[in-house]
């Protein structure tokens, strides 16, 4: 058995609900009352922490992960064996310095890495939720995080930091729990999900629905995974995370010739960019559940901070005391700078203390996960400045 086969096995086990890994988690028996009216009980929240909580419990930073991210922000992901997704940003001496701050990251509600989601066992039935998992919103996702910090005995977070969908969560924190957040960094994000982004999500979902292994969401009952559909969804989404320049630089028009006859090669050839996307698609299905993907993308689609305020985007931020730093990336066309500027102006209208930086980068939306020294300096500097205003001592923890 090759090591790849072993990995497949472990992953398909995970996909079928019998997770072979134990994630650190807390079970909250009271559960969570969702916006849709359902009470999700019990509520499991899987999370990781780094650094030490100060005696005053005032140095906690909550990191919110993106759509397909997870709680393994700065350590090896036990499922993929890959390093933490933001290990370059979070750690001792890093811009989000765990020698100084107590960092928390939890798997989002609806996710598939330990927090209650479609793959979790439903108490009433003893079977997984699968496609019966209730519709959740960004507010619900953050409400689960609030329950976690309550459990950890943290009254006020020093900061909430998140990119992309993580930024939506950071914005939800300051819109609904401003008094519990001293500083926030919404990165490469938007105060509402645009029609274009809903459209992309819809194509992803339709790819999953079109897979014969989808079985109307009951694929687990058939011992199947809609791997092709989920893979195509990931491939398409992955293009939106990059930029034309990044793709050109990385792959150009380079072609591979088929060594042996294979269906994977059209007319005996494959562009390198095709091979890359297929790899992205196939590795993704080993670590992500299709129902989770649908649940979370739908929560993103519903996200619009102005929805409860007759379209007034500044209303949710009235009396907001949080120090905010909005960051966008010049080549990000999924969450473009124009949307960040709209957000910044809404925050200014509300009189909020806001900073706004657009980082020059040609790497598209994913730039926030990559090596961008200007971005690192911004994160470190903003947090240092905020720590000074919060009266946090240097080098505590």
């Amino acid at each position: 058995m090759s090591s790849d086969d072993k990995k497949e096995r472990a992953i398909s086990d995970a996909g079928l609900g019998a997770s072979v890994f134990t994630h650190k988690m807390v079970r909250l028996e009271d559960g969570l009352l969702l916006e849709c009216g359902d009470n999700l009980a019990p509520l499991d929240v899987a999370y990781c922490t780094y650094g030490t909580l100060s005696p005053a419990r005032d140095n906690a930073i909550f990191i919110c992960h993106a759509l397909t991210g997870d709680q393994y922000v700065a350590e090896q992901n036990p499922l993929t064996g890959k390093p933490g997704w933001w290990a370059r940003m979070v750690g001792p001496g890093k811009p989000i310095d765990t020698d100084r701050f107590f960092v928390i990251c939890s798997n989002v509600l609806g996710g598939c890495l330990g927090t209650t989601g479609p793959t979790s066992v439903r108490e009433e039935t003893g079977a997984a939720w699968d496609s019966d998992f209730p519709q959740i919103t960004m507010k619900d996702i953050v409400a689960a995080q609030v329950k976690l910090i309550d459990h950890l005995g943290i009254g006020r977070l020093f900061a909430v930091v998140g990119g992309s969908m993580g930024g939506m969560q950071a914005l939800t924190w300051i819109a609904h729990h401003s008094e519990r957040v001293f500083a926030a960094m919404p990165i490469a994000t938007s105060p509402y999900h645009s029609a274009q982004n809903i459209a992309f999500n819809e194509v992803s979902r339709q790819a999953i629905f079109a897979d014969p292994e989808w079985h109307k969401g009951r694929y687990r009952d058939y011992g199947a995974i809609p791997a092709r559909g989920l893979g195509v969804a990931r491939m398409m989404a992955h293009i939106t995370y990059l930029s034309e320049d990044a793709l050109n630089r990385k792959f150009g028009r380079r072609v591979r010739k088929a060594g042996v006859s294979s269906d994977a090669f059209l007319f005996g050839e494959m562009f390198e960019v095709e091979s890359y996307l297929r790899h992205q698609g196939s590795t993704f299905v080993r670590r992500f559940d299709a129902n989770s993907y649908l649940t979370i993308t739908r929560a993103m689609d519903y996200f619009d901070l102005s929805a409860d305020h007759d379209g007034d985007l500044s209303a949710p931020f009235q009396n907001c005391l949080t120090r905010i730093c909005v960051v966008s990336f010049s080549s990000d066309w999924l969450f473009p700078t124009t949307q960040s500027r709209t957000l910044v102006r809404a925050l200014s209208r509300a009189g909020a203390n806001v900073s706004f930086v657009e980082i020059e980068s040609d790497r598209g939306h994913d730039a926030f996960l990559l090596d961008e020294p200007e971005f690192d300096r911004t994160v470190r500097g903003f947090l240092d400045g905020a720590a000074e205003h919060a009266g946090l001592r240097r080098g505590q923890g």
């Binding site: 200014s348 706004f356 903003f382």
Partner: protein, 199 residues
């Protein structure tokens, strides 16, 4: 810190809320926060300066005087500062209105186009003057709305602003001794600094 920034800082009440429009590298807001305990924020057009400021922990937004002041509510600030920028904005009158809408006071500094050296050059050469203060040729200068000290005083009267304090300063930022007479200041002051409020 430049001497004219020091003069601006002296006009500002400790503990007040400040918006510095065109905050550059953030020197003034940093100074106001550290020494005057002000809640000082900035708007800056140059992205490198913005990043530099934010990386120093200063609250600075990327934006400009013409387009971003309109988004702040009335009376958000005690002082709104515009350093050496009025002559380069698209609509100076509107920028001043916005400054005095969102702030109780406006502090404005600008290079004086009425200085004798400029007048003399235009008179004797018949060409657009070039001086250390006005150092770029007419076709390259971002200074699209130059004005003299008397022009500015006239605009303040027209808009019913109260001039609480004013100074003529030379290029190094030192105070020039023309405080009593606007006419003399207009002839010999290279730059001007005004503290305005609504009537």
């Amino acid at each position: 810190m430049r001497v004219d920034q020091q003069l601006i800082a002296e006009m500002i009440t400790p503990g007040s809320r400040i918006l510095d429009v065109g905050s550059g590298d953030g020197t003034l807001i940093d100074y106001l926060y550290r020494t005057r305990k002000c809640d000082a924020r900035g708007i800056e057009l140059d992205m490198q300066s913005v990043t530099q400021s934010v990386a120093h922990g200063l609250p600075v937004v990327h934006g400009d005087a013409d387009h971003d002041l309109a988004h702040y509510p009335d009376d958000t600030f005690d002082f709104v500062v515009l350093q050496r920028t009025l002559q380069a904005v698209e609509r100076p009158q509107e920028v001043l209105r916005q400054m005095l809408r969102i702030g109780r006071h406006a502090i404005v500094s600008f290079p004086n186009f009425g200085h004798w050296r400029l007048r003399l050059q235009l008179l004797t050469t018949g060409r657009m003057p070039m001086t250390p203060v006005w150092s770029t040729p007419w076709h390259q200068t971002p200074n699209i709305h130059p004005c003299t000290i008397r022009d500015f005083v006239a605009l303040c009267e027209e808009e019913h602003y109260t001039i609480r304090q004013w100074l003529a300063i030379d290029e190094d930022g030192a105070k020039a001794p023309w405080r009593r007479s606007v006419r003399w200041a207009n002839l010999f002051g290279e730059q001007a600094l005004f503290l305005l409020s609504r009537q």
